[in-house]
Symmetry: C2
Subunit: 259 residues, 2 copies
DNA sequence: GAGTGGTCTAGACCACACA
DNA sequence: GTGTGGTCTAGACCACTCT
């Protein structure tokens, strides 16, 4: 508590395997987290820092860049670098690969193909995929489960332009982007998703083995190519009693988001 | 289609107001999106690029850094820089400030304080906030609405160490992190949230004006200070018929996530 | 050993903010 | 004007990969 009252210069180990810019960023991070630099307050200028620690200005900039990426400081041209306010009210819910997540929890993920066929686009699908009515599309119905119980019921459609046969091996990665890559002409480069809270329909209760009106997450996904044309569309229904999304926002350099 | 077979060098405008590193990054982005550089393929080495375009290697590195941040390429020490595979299966659902979102949609957000009082921590709350039983805590009940209808019902608790009076002005920003900052000793620096799909309880149907068993999103939030001690806990119940989360993942330099 | 990306330097010029 | 951050250069040394 009584140390450092003389704004003593923290030491940088220039021979360390740890980069100088990282050591410097950590020094400022510590000062910010300890409240010795408070939100709105200015950091020393880049020239001051580079003289004080006897390092190049470019190295100072790299350190500040790390802090900027972490959202801890922001820069203003011609004015200076300032400590940011924590933005803990922002939320980011991440959803990662189903198989990995299940395996991480010590269970065995399974993918069951309930059906796959070529269908002609009806009005809804034609609109979702921006194709003419009755265009040939591939339709997949999948059930993702652990060894114990079903978890996700998926319906996916992709534009079917290559007329390639449907391979068993597709089930190794039945993600919409993989299916679209295999059977479409173009590369998917953008994915839009919408997450709804809903209750299970009759069909979903049967497939998922839950009661009518049980809560579920519904994730609708649309894939686009580089020209912004839809190349795939799908709907995943996740059991509400087995799924939750977690979000960690941390005001520090490590762990931008976790789990 | 027939152009550029002579690997003609794209021009960089060195006198432009647009930074060279950005122009260069855009050139590679275009080549990748057009499929002239495919996933797994190597970019020219940094030295080659710097000679080819007659710019410094540090500028080349800055350009590649932009592409790396966008997830379009990855680097391997001693080997080279390679085009990444699009990871469109990752999902990021963002939830932004309630008031801004409502206003953006052309409605007027309202916050109604249903109640605020000092309570003694029961078993559940003592566990959530990691304090002894019966510790004094502040308890807020809030209703967020448009002019037309209620949307979110919130219950929030913060550790009450400062013994500061409760101010009307807190309602300008009744976020958990603001309440915790005002009434706690320490700075919140980390926020964890859990998103559940559920159905409305009896109390929630009354407050939100919906039917029993209507789907709702439940967002549970815990705030921590720099020492990882909980300083606030809250639960927000959002009408399922009025809320959806959207996610856009784009394999390009702009729009890392949108809306 | 040759080639690669990672780090770092000691300069330079610029546009911007502020007095 | 002075001071700030933003860009850029032309070198340098390192650890790493591959042959």
């Amino acid at each position: 508590m009584i140390k450092n009252y003389n704004q003593e210069v923290k030491k940088l180990d220039k021979d360390s395997v740890i980069p100088i810019y990282y050591q410097l960023a950590k020094i400022f991070e510590k000062q910010i987290l300890q409240g010795r630099l408070t939100p709105g307050e200015a950091l020393p200028s880049e020239n001051e820092i580079s003289e004080k620690y006897d390092i190049s200005r470019m190295t100072v900039r790299r350190a500040i860049s790390e802090l900027t990426n972490a959202g801890m400081v922001y820069t203003q041209k011609g004015k200076g670098t300032f400590v940011a306010k924590p933005k803990l009210e922002d939320v980011i819910f991440e959803l990662k690969n189903f198989h990995e997540e299940i395996r991480k929890r010590g269970m065995q993920p399974r993918t069951k193909l309930l059906g796959v066929k070529i269908v002609r686009a009806d009005k809804l699908l034609a609109k979702k995929l921006n194709v003419p009515l009755n265009t040939n599309c591939l339709y997949y119905r999948l059930l993702l489960s652990t060894q114990e119980e079903p978890l996700v019921y998926e319906n996916k459609y992709v534009v079917y332009t290559k007329q390639k046969p449907i391979l068993e091996s597709e089930l190794n990665d039945p993600s919409l982007s993989n299916l679209a890559t295999l059977h479409g002409e173009k590369f998917p480069t953008m994915s839009k998703r919408i997450l709804h809270a809903s209750v299970a329909t009759e069909e979903e209760t049967v497939v998922l083995g839950i009661e009518l009106n049980e809560p579920v997450f519904v994730v609708e996904q649309t894939l686009y190519d580089a020209d912004k044309n839809p190349v795939g569309w799908g709907k995943s229904v996740c059991r509400g009693d087995r799924f939750k999304f977690t979000s960690t926002i941390s005001w520090s350099m490590d762990n931008t988001t976790g789990d």
